[in-house]
């Protein structure tokens, strides 16, 4: 069954104009998100997945950042060009974000309650009187004990896990249709991580909410994701249902990622590395940006940039290996 597409990112390019040159952090990302679906953005640090997330709501620093090309269509509305007040009414209300590090993403000088209620009051001005109740309910939903008390706490008085859950509660406070979670489990330990994943799974099921889940941790992708998009050097190089990605990855980079995964349930701080360095976003290699590290590199890879190729209907990858015109196979 074809679910309704709620968000479509088309050839998005977000560049940062710095003194050292143009940092092409997002350099042509495209994907779609269906209603009730969880899409994972996967990649090494610095690959541009976080900036992609920020670009959806235009949250990167501007200047120096700028969306130079592409569209983000939410229900047909282009978020990259729409007026600021309109965008603001969507931020936090229709599309909410949960950040990686709750410690620094929460304002240290306001209570959790203040910060949650502030969002409710901004988007639902008539909610005033019961914004506190709503906030309490949200914390309870996040399985935070003594929610009413927790609302009066400052971030520094909470444990890391509580903060992260409070952060998610804040994201959910206006019943968004899309939740963008940017590595929400990096800064917490394993047990908390399991809890958070569980909460997200439950939410998705209960609220029919779409989730963009950003992570470098493939083990999480398996647990939560419906589909996954692999990002490399500011581009989506492969996008496919999670089982495809994990079981029969197409792009050499994805293959590399998967093969580096010694034990998918192990807690890894960092991905085991693929030989070579991630490319410098100021100076992205010509042709396929992965070619300097690619085990199956061909001459064409150095000059021609591969396009997204449909591999198996649901699996799409950008690699010359799958281009019949290039390889003659298939």
């Amino acid at each position: 069954m074809a679910a309704k597409t709620i968000l479509e990112v088309k050839d998005l390019k977000t560049w940062f104009y710095t003194r050292r040159g143009i940092v092409k952090a997002v350099n042509g990302v495209s994907f779609t998100l269906d209603e009730g679906e969880c899409l994972c953005l996967v990649g090494e640090s610095g690959c541009g997945k976080s900036v992609t997330a920020l670009s959806i709501l235009r949250l990167f620093d501007s200047p120096p950042g700028k969306i130079v090309e592409g569209k983000v269509l939410y229900e047909g509305l282009d978020l990259t060009t729409c007026a600021m007040p309109l965008l603001r009414s969507i931020r936090g209300k229709d599309i909410a974000m949960v950040f990686q590090n709750a410690q620094s993403a929460l304002n240290p000088v306001f209570t959790i309650g203040d910060q949650i209620e502030e969002q409710i009051n901004t988007h639902m001005p008539h909610h005033d009187r019961n914004s506190r109740q709503k906030a309490t309910a949200l914390l309870e939903e996040m399985k935070i004990p003594e929610a009413a008390e927790a609302l009066k706490m400052y971030p520094h008085q909470m444990s890391g896990g509580m903060k992260q859950r409070a952060m998610i509660a804040m994201g959910l406070s206006c019943d968004p249709r899309i939740l963008i979670a940017d590595e929400p489990t990096t800064a917490v330990d394993v047990t908390i991580r399991a809890q958070i994943i569980y909460i997200l799974q439950e939410l998705k099921a209960r609220r029919n909410m779409s989730i963009i889940f950003i992570t470098h941790d493939l083990s999480l992708v398996r647990e939560i994701g419906d589909r996954a998009a692999v990002v490399y050097a500011g581009k989506v190089v492969e996008i496919a249902p999670v089982e495809h990605i994990l079981n029969k990855p197409a792009h050499p980079y994805t293959i590399g990622l998967i093969s580096c995964l010694p034990d998918i349930s192990a807690d890894l701080k960092r991905l085991p590395s693929i030989p070579g360095n991630t490319p410098n976003p100021i100076d992205i290699p010509s042709g396929c940006p992965f070619h300097p590290r690619c085990p199956s590199v061909m001459d064409i890879c150095r000059t021609v940039e591969p396009e997204m190729l449909n591999i198996s209907g649901v699996q799409i990858a950008a690699c010359h290996l799958y281009d019949a015109n290039v390889t003659g196979k298939r």
Binding site: S89, R91, F99, V109
Partner: protein, 320 residues
């Protein structure tokens, strides 16, 4: 918390006592005498200077041993008796009571002027970082920090009072404190006194704002869909204000005893600065010690208030 305050208060009293003693000793052990400045006048009346000197010193108890003077002064002070100013011939407290308002209004207005404009400009400069406005604000703040306040005061008088005649050349105490005329005649002094602080606040606010603008919680706030004015005016400012509070409070202490005095001199405002400095020249130790003591307590109080304000502004800080 209460223990902390009590500890701080005791500590303040010890500091104040130390300062009191140093001031007392400097004034009473130094070679100067209150009679010095009248010597020619006494001589002009054909009097024997030495006997008049002895008469005056005897009258004010200045001929007693220094330790006796010190202990009797301390004993009086502990009973709430701040002594008698022989140079102004009134009780020290009354003297301070009739002059403090002139310093207070000046310092208050200058501080308000500096905080509102300084923090405002600093915020704008931070938000418009690297624009022409930002550069202009930065240059302005360098100029403001570097311009000597007393000289600026002179120049303001020269231009606005002497040449343009927009203001009086002096401060007129005949206007009631709460009158528009008084407010008007305070414009130049407040500018002269406040410009340095203002310029400093522009710089500090800008950098504190920039520090916090880069923080992640700002992105969070924006992601929540808050209007920019709430993001800057609430989330960023509230964090940026923390280092500012220390600086503003510290400045207040130095303004009370530095700039304010010079401004009072230049504009002829009869505030406590003038009182204390006239007292120094008259060797009137009771006044000097009292004003120093009040100033010290004020600074200590400001410090304590800063700490307490901090616990309110920054929930992460708690004193044991």
């Amino acid at each position: 918390m209460r223990n902390y305050i009590i500890k701080r208060l005791i500590y303040s009293i010890i500091i104040a006592w130390g300062i009191l003693t140093i001031t007392f000793i400097l004034l009473r052990v130094g070679p100067t005498s209150p009679v010095d400045r009248y010597i020619l006048n006494i001589a002009a009346r054909g009097q024997d200077v030495e006997s008049v000197k002895q008469a005056i010193e005897a009258r004010y108890g200045l001929n007693k041993p220094i330790t006796e003077q010190y202990f009797s002064y301390m004993a009086n002070l502990l009973q709430g008796n701040w002594g008698w100013s022989f140079s102004a011939s009134m009780p020290v407290l009354e003297l301070i009571g009739s002059h403090w308002i002139y310093s207070f209004q000046l310092i208050l207005l200058a501080t308000i002027f500096a905080i509102i404009l300084g923090v405002g400009l600093g915020m704008l400069a931070a938000v418009k970082q690297n624009t022409k406005f930002d550069y202009a604000a930065s240059i302005f703040s360098f100029i403001g920090i570097s311009i000597p306040g007393f000289w600026l005061g002179l120049m303001l008088i020269l231009v606005f009072a002497v040449y343009l005649g927009v203001f009086k050349t002096y401060y007129d105490t005949n206007y009631p404190i709460w009158s528009l005329e008084n407010l008007k005649q305070l414009i130049l002094p407040v500018m002269a006194l406040g410009i340095g602080e203002l310029a400093g606040y522009v710089r500090y606010t800008r950098s504190a704002m920039l520090d916090n603008l880069r923080k992640e919680f700002v992105t969070t706030a924006r992601a929540k869909g808050l209007p920019e004015r709430t993001v800057i005016g609430k989330h960023v400012l509230r964090n940026a204000i923390l280092p500012l509070v220390t600086i503003i409070m510290f400045d207040l202490g130095s303004v009370v005893f530095g700039g304010a005095y010079l401004t009072e001199i230049v504009f002829g405002i009869p505030g406590l600065g003038q009182v204390s400095f006239n007292a120094i020249f008259a060797n009137d130790y009771a006044v000097v010690v009292a004003v120093t003591l009040i100033g010290t307590f004020l600074v200590l109080f400001i410090n304590l208030a800063t700490d307490l304000l901090y616990t309110y502004l920054d929930p992460r800080i708690r004193y044991e």
